[in-house]
Amino acid sequence: MSSFEVIAAGVLSLLQDNGRFGQSALGLTTGGAMDAPSARWANRLLGNDNNATLIECSVGGLQLRANTSSYIAVTGAELPLSINDKPAELWAVHKVQPGDVIELGMVSQGLRAYLAVAGGFAVTPQFGSVSTVLREGIGGLNGNKLQTGDLLAVQKVKQLPRLSLPQAYRPQFNRILTLRLVEGYQAERFSVTERQRFYLNSYKVTPQADRMGYKLKGAAISCQQSQLLSEGICYGAVQIPPDGQPIVLLNDRQTLGGYPKIGSVLSLDCALLAQAVAGTELYFTAISPEQAHNALCLAKVRTDAITSQLVSL
């Protein structure tokens, strides 16, 4: 069987796809690549299905050995990539031969890199998705993160063009973020003053930030209602617990929660937040559902247009 072998798993490497949908009524969260746009670029460069299974390598340190000839692309966080100790470009397709060693160093900007392989890693989905959710023990290989010695099956592939994404189109993982937020849920139960406090002050990413959510620190805001009946939590929802410090709930969030929420961060900005390290400064800005919809459609059109213009190296 054609495969890649994990020589070193790095800090936290997880098999992911776009996420697990339609299973929340069982209590299963979505999971999926935290920086979905970067993950999709890795698949696009290789001509893969947009939901193809890839590796999300957080912080870095992943080493793989190719046991077959194939193609790879690494996108997302800035880190040194090498193939057989020779530096290789990120956001670009590289051919690998049997025995080649692919090494991802430690991140210098951003947090999560995505390694995709031509055709995607062949992993049996659970509940319709390969996404690994460690808390649930679901997805990936037996619900686990990647470990030394794991064999990742791949398909034989035909020749692929050596595409790369021009520098200008690669995301910048800036120090200061502005997170666009669609107001919703209990937004009206935050007074005008509290909402102003929320939008006018900056917040910082705290070390309590993981695949479940990002806890922020800044001006505390209060809600007229402190507890509610547990209700469904959507991607990007901003929960305000009694201490008034916002938590942006991300891919591995619990499906239900009983704290008030002021609205939800636009998915495109959640992806940037997922690349932010502790200490990153950020602001919130309110947008309407129509503006959000417009932003999503534009992003899709733009990505499609760039894809059609990519040229081979």
Partner: protein, 235 residues
């Protein structure tokens, strides 16, 4: 009979919340159950998920196929069919429980706190037919309500590091069976050998939101025969 009242609120870029009167009530839960069935049947093509809870439904759609306006309009149309109907809408499920001090380390504490016998705690817990109000916290964790007011117990001040799979527990006026070993702060009164979440099985869960659950006493021998494992809880 009056038409059921509801409210639609934006939740996020691709999500709407359907709210009913915000209380824990079998009639409200029946509306949630009905609404989910209607929404799943009529909007399926453009939805990515439908998530019921006590008195709300989170509706998530694909924003590259539809938008808030269209989904709101479709929801209003299909929710016009909602009917106030208190009758049980889900299936009935019996869950066996081995109640004992060995399998339920907090039984004695509840009995002592409430000044009743351990047998009475057990009797009162299984006398009620519970409704599945919500599923969440962890895969397969079903919130069942409502518990006899006399058995109402606050969560432990310090959650246990390890609650075994199958632990039957009480917190406030809710009861649940832990679907997997996990940390937990509920009061433990017994063990249930039925797997509440099994990824290898279809369906993965014996219950879904809207179902009715009754607990039935079994003895230790029966518990073990049904595949139960006696694993202690750890503080």
């Amino acid at each position: 009979m009056s038409k059921p009242q509801y409210q639609l609120t934006v939740a996020g870029e691709n999500a709407l919340m359907l709210y009913f009167d915000q209380r824990i009530d079998p009639g409200i839960s029946a509306l949630v159950h009905q609404a989910c069935a209607l929404i799943r049947a009529e909007l399926a093509a453009e939805l990515i998920d439908v998530l019921p809870s006590y008195a709300s439904v989170l509706v998530m759609f694909n924003p590259l196929r539809t938008d808030h306006f269209r989904v709101q309009a479709q929801l209003k149309l299909c929710l016009a069919q909602l009917q106030n109907n208190d009758s049980q809408s889900g299936k009935r499920v019996e869950l066996p429980v081995y109640y004992s001090e060995e399998s339920g380390p907090d039984l004695a504490l509840i009995a002592q706190t409430k000044n009743i016998s351990i047998d009475e705690v057990i009797q009162r817990h299984q006398a009620i037919s519970y409704r599945v109000y919500a599923i969440g916290f962890a895969p397969g964790f079903a919130y069942l309500g409502e518990v006899d007011p006399l058995l109402q117990m606050p969560r432990l001040a310090t959650p246990r590091a390890k609650v075994p799979r199958g632990a039957v527990a009480i917190a406030d006026r809710q009861t649940a069976v832990y679907p997997a070993q996990s940390p937990g702060g509920w009061n433990l009164i017994g063990l249930c050998p039925t797997r509440m979440f099994n990824p290898e099985q279809t369906p993965a869960m014996p219950v879904s939101v809207g179902d009715e659950v009754r607990f039935v006493t079994i003895d230790k021998a029966e518990f073990l025969r049904l595949g139960g494992e006696l694993q202690g809880a750890e503080l």
